[in-house]
């Protein structure tokens, strides 16, 4: 039995196959709509989520399976003081696979130590969010044909943004050699991660504070929200929340085939006037998340294209 706690739990070959299977599920959904018949996904969200929770629910339903769970820890026995390990042990009898989101970093790893079901990490604090990374990769593949060989820029909260941390490490594993990092000084990529990227993968990191200086050189612009819930004090949040805003005006200098991605939800970092630009693919990105999660559930339950012969 295996778990998906961080992107490194998957090999590059496995990620490539998940992306291929996910794209096939997107193009031919009917082929797969019964492969999880009789299977149950436990969807344990100890922290609020819209996209991740509902895309997993949707993914399981589109595969013909069922979903149980909670969307708020206050409606579970956690509110009565039950430990995470006990909750996970109990769910072992009720479902076939678990997806969980938890505000505490490392919680999915702890859960995996006590689970008899496969665990998928649906996000743990500011730490890891591997299925967002898969969502990002399938989106890049759909719109740019290859995962490799693009000039990728990350913009906004690079310090607390777990989606950025997961994606940048995975893109480095795929052999991408250069990244542009656009952020205020207070929200720069953590130095431990920078050190890992440079020492382990030999990548070049270009750090700038102005989007305008580099926008004409970017193939993939990955925008992020300044996340209020990651700040301990409101003052720091208010100071930084309006740091970067992508507008139609700024896009004038961008390449015609650049794509703009965002893990969503956005607040004001991308103007609504950008939505109609063909380079804005963030809603398609959210859509692709369903299909790559369908592929992942199939892989972990060993059904459909992953059934053992």
């Amino acid at each position: 039995m295996r778990h998906l706690i961080e992107p490194e739990d998957l090999t590059i070959d496995e990620i490539n196959r998940l992306v291929e299977v996910g794209l096939d599920m997107y193009n031919n959904p009917k082929v797969y709509n019964k492969i999880c018949d009789g299977k149950i996904l436990a969807s344990l969200f100890f922290e609020p989520s819209t996209r991740t929770k509902f895309s997993f629910d949707s993914a399981m339903m589109r595969l013909g399976g069922n979903v149980i769970g909670f969307a708020d820890a206050s409606t579970s026995s956690t509110s009565k003081g039950e430990s995470l390990a006990d909750t996970i042990k109990v769910m072992g009898a009720y479902a076939d696979i678990i997806v969980m989101r938890h505000p505490k970093e490392g919680a999915p790893k702890l859960a995996s130590q006590y689970s008899r079901l496969p665990i998928i990490n649906g996000g743990d604090g500011g730490h890891q969010h591997p299925t967002q990374t898969l969502t990002d990769l399938i989106t890049i593949k759909r719109f740019k044909e290859t995962v490799n060989g693009h000039n990728v820029a990350f913009c906004g909260d690079l310090k607390y943004g777990r989606t950025v941390h997961s994606l940048i490490r995975t893109l480095a594993r795929f052999g991408n050699t250069k990244f542009i990092l656009i952020s205020p000084d207070e929200l720069k990529l953590p130095s431990a991660l920078k050190r890992q990227l440079i020492n382990q993968y030999g990548v070049e990191l270009v750090e700038v504070t102005s989007m305008e200086d580099v926008i004409d050189d970017i193939d993939i612009l990955y925008m992020t929200r300044i996340q209020k819930e990651r700040f301990f004090n409101e003052e720091d949040y208010l100071k930084l929340k309006n740091s970067y805003k992508l507008t139609r005006e700024k896009l004038k200098n961008a390449k015609p085939d650049m794509i703009v991605m965002h893990p969503l939800p956005r607040v004001n970092e991308i103007g609504y006037d950008v939505d109609d630009d063909k380079r804005a693919v963030y809603f398609e990105q959210a859509e692709m998340g369903v299909y790559v999660r369908m592929a992942l559930i199939s892989m972990m339950l060993e059904v459909g294209p992953y059934a053992r012969s």
Binding site: S83, L84, A85, H102, P103, K104, E105, G106, A107, K109, L110, Q113, Y114, D124, G125, G126, H127, A192
Partner: protein, 142 residues
């Protein structure tokens, strides 16, 4: 000169960097019911000054904790007035317990099932340990 007699059964923690003896005592032996002698600023040929701790009727000591406080520490195990074993502390490559993860959002702070576990990342002047749960680096200055 101050003289402290040897112990019949127990351990002698020697070669503690001067000033760190109290830290060793607080981390490892503050709750002991056994007799303890803490010697500070003792003259040493090797170190100039050193601290020493002697504890009676105790034979277990967490060498990992000693290793992160001061890797030069040695431990002599005494039984029936005889030195039966001499141990040398080392900087531990992995660590279970002993440190608190410095990330306030880490699960190890709130869940009793999650005992902090760390992997040594760097030992250049300061010890950097990566938490096995949240992967945050916790720094311990030597």
């Amino acid at each position: 000169m101050l003289e402290v007699k040897g112990i019949e059964n127990g351990i002698v923690i020697d070669h503690i960097q001067a000033g760190k003896g109290l830290k060793v005592f607080n981390r490892l032996f503050s709750a002991t019911d056994n007799s303890v002698v803490l010697l500070m600023n003792v003259t040493s040929k090797q170190l100039g000054r050193k601290d020493i701790i002697k504890i009676e009727n105790t034979f277990d000591v967490n060498m990992d904790i000693l290793g992160i406080i001061d890797p030069n520490i040695t431990v002599n195990i005494i039984k029936n007035n005889k030195l039966v074993e001499k141990l040398k502390a080392e900087i531990p490559k992995s660590l279970k317990g002993g440190l608190q993860c410095q990330n306030p959002r880490c699960i190890t702070h709130t869940d009793d099932y999650a005992e902090p576990e760390f992997k040594l990342i760097s030992a250049n002047g300061k010890l950097e340990y990566e938490c096995s749960y949240c992967e945050e680096i916790t720094v311990y200055k030597l």
